[in-house]
């Protein structure tokens, strides 16, 4: 068997910058003064912040050393469930760095940034095509911002009908941000439980859907990695009572080119460009959470919107029913460029293949680890699978110990203790970009850890032992946070 990637190497310690600093050091030089020295006005002077004095090499070594402690998708497999940590092709960075796009000032008049506007218009069309919905806004800054946008659209729709509503149905397998977004918009969320198969039953929705309910927020595939197979029947029930259907599209990586969200009855859907469409995230920069809507909701989308008028792209505010502006300027445009680059380099057939391979990889892990770890819902999964620690508990080993030990084997831990419907959940999302060899290595690591849990449980309790930092005291960090340098 190939060696596990986990190892110890030359890992360098690094103090805080304040401890590195020595009075009088300087990292830059200014040109010689050619004007009279004048004191600054008293109103503009003060003691100044407590910054250390550092040389250039101090700063470069500090951040370079810190960067070697980091783990990223460029370093290894990052099977963080629900986060779609796929490899981000470098060509996307190259396109986003194009001076005409990277250097475009957000206050440029439309005539001077036709290329950027055309790219936004084209990306809107591609996302509409991919989801099967009709109109798109690129403004929201990330997924939860997209959810809030969707809820504001729900509210604007019902208000326009003359009948504002007060509640939103949110299943227990939805993303945790869903009820928060609904509450932020002033809705009361009504929780409903998934059935024994881990999906929603139409009866559960029919029992709570009434004339005061604005609609439902469904995550599909849901947080158990299962496809909500009753979604069409559920949408019919919600629509019959005048409600709308929101789909949290964070798990879109499972169904690209496979489902038509519009025909499934979805009225509003957000996408996470930083998950499905391969723009960096997880400390790598801002996200982007475009929202796609069915035709009848288009008038409510945020302004300004890119429009083609007399063969010129313009930013138009002329949408009287719009919910308004949600973001400074035009969204996180560099990520829009990366996603556009990704979609064009992949093409329709390969995007479909992305989802097929993402699902295949998750099912492969599920089948190979089934029985070694408890699988609470033994059904065909989509892009991720959810195990629990219930077989390891007899040895006093829990999910946290397993996750920490995985670091010693050279893998980023999966998502743990989520979804809440599975106690001690271990949520694994391999994505399509891992090779069979890497998946096998991950599976072998998980198997080795299960053996250790039986035979040497303390090895798990003490993990990680090979990482730069050993087991951190998460409890003390939460109870007595230290937020200063």
């Amino acid at each position: 068997m190939t060696e596990f990637p986990g190892a110890t190497g030359l890992v360098l310690n690094e103090p805080l910058l304040w401890e590195r600093g020595r009075r009088g050091r300087c990292g830059f030089s200014l040109p010689s003064r050619d004007v009279e020295r004048r004191p600054a006005p008293a109103a503009l002077t003060a003691a100044g912040p407590d910054f250390p004095d550092l040389s250039e090499v101090d700063v470069v070594r500090h951040y370079t050393r810190l960067s070697t402690w980091n783990f990223s998708v460029d370093a290894g497999m990052y099977p963080l469930g629900s986060c779609t940590m796929k490899y981000n092709p470098k060509t996307n960075e190259r396109q986003a760095a194009h001076p005409g796009l990277a250097g475009a000032h957000p206050l440029l008049p439309a005539d001077l940034c036709q290329g950027a506007l055309e790219l936004m218009a084209a990306l809107e069309c591609l996302l509409a095509e991919i989801t099967g919905l009709d109109a798109v806004t690129l403004q929201p800054g990330a997924g939860a911002h997209g959810e809030l946008t969707g809820m504001l659209v729900f509210h604007a729709h019902h208000r326009h009908q003359g009948k504002p509503r007060s509640k939103i149905i949110v299943p227990d397998t939805a993303h945790g941000t869903n009820p928060a977004s609904a509450s932020l918009c002033g809705y009361r969320s009504v929780a409903i439980a998934s059935n024994a198969n881990g999906v929603l039953s139409p009866e559960a929705v029919a029992a709570v859907m009434d004339d005061q309910t604005a609609g439902i927020m469904v995550t599909n595939p849901n947080t158990l990695g299962l496809f909500e197979e009753n979604v069409k029947a559920i949408a019919d029930i919600v629509h019959a009572r005048g409600g709308l259907v929101y789909c949290d599209g964070a798990n879109m990586n499972a169904v690209l080119g496979m489902v038509h969200m519009g025909r499934m009855g979805v009225d509003v859907l957000h996408l996470n460009l930083h998950k499905t469409f391969s723009t960096p995230h997880g400390g790598g920069g801002p996200g982007a959470g475009p929202v796609c809507v069915a035709r009848h909701l288009e008038p409510f989308l945020p302004v300004p919107r890119v429009r083609l008028v007399d063969n010129r792209y313009v930013l138009s505010e002329d949408f009287p029913l719009s919910i308004g502006k949600l973001q400074a300027f035009w969204g996180n445009t560099a990520n829009l460029v990366r996603a556009y680059s990704y979609i064009l380099t992949m093409g329709a057939e390969d995007l479909k293949r992305v989802s097929q391979l993402a699902v295949l990889n998750a099912r492969y892990i599920k089948e190979r680890l089934k029985g070694i770890y408890h699988l609470p819902y033994d059904r065909p999964c989509m892009h991720e699978c959810v195990f629990s620690d219930s077989l390891q508990q007899a040895h006093k080993v829990n999910t946290l110990d397993i996750a920490k030990r995985l670091m010693d084997y050279g893998f980023h831990p999966p998502t743990i203790y989520f979804p809440l419907v599975v106690p001690g959940a271990i949520m694994i999302e391999p994505t399509e970009t891992e090779s069979k060899e890497d998946l096998d290595l991950f599976i072998e690591s998980m198997k080795a850890i299960a053996t250790e849990a039986r035979e040497a449980p303390d090895r798990l309790h003490q993990a990680p032992t090979r990482a730069k930092r050993r087991r951190l005291d998460e409890t003390a960090a939460a109870r007595k946070p230290c937020l200063t340098g």
Binding site: F418, P423, E474, T475, R479
Partner: protein, 132 residues
């Protein structure tokens, strides 16, 4: 986490399925979470409690408890008015773990309907529910 047989459930308390306990004191009800609940949650790092004077229905959420794993809602086993809250939990949430039936208590309720107190589970019934 512990096996159910290792957990403590005092005889004199009433229990509910959502893992809160009730101690009747001169017609009032002192409420906290069970040994099972604190064990499942893990280290508690924050407890959110209602303002005294607030009236709540039976089964209504009265606050939340946050551990290193998750945030869970607290559900009122009986309807009534909040007359006292455990202010010590603000700075010492660990009392919920170390002494769930004593210094880790959460709120005292003036019940609106004394019948609610009769509907609580006995230790035996609660243990049965845990075994599922």
């Amino acid at each position: 986490m512990k096996d159910v047989s290792e957990l403590k459930f005092p005889e004199e308390l009433g229990y509910v399925e959502s893992h809160e306990w009730v101690r009747t004191e001169d017609g009032r009800a002192r409420i906290g979470i069970t040994d099972y609940a604190q064990d499942q949650l893990g280290d508690v790092v924050y407890v959110e409690l209602p303002a005294p004077g607030k009236s709540l229905a039976k089964g209504a959420p009265f606050g939340s408890v946050e551990s290193v794993k998750a945030v869970s809602e607290l559900y009122l086993p009986i309807g009534g008015t909040v007359v006292e809250i455990n202010a010590a939990l603000e700075n010492s949430p660990e009392l919920v773990n170390s002494d769930p039936y004593g210094r880790g208590w959460m709120i005292v309720i003036e019940p609106s309907q004394s019948e609610d107190l009769k509907g609580l589970l006995s230790v035996q019934a609660y243990r049965e529910k845990l075994k599922g």
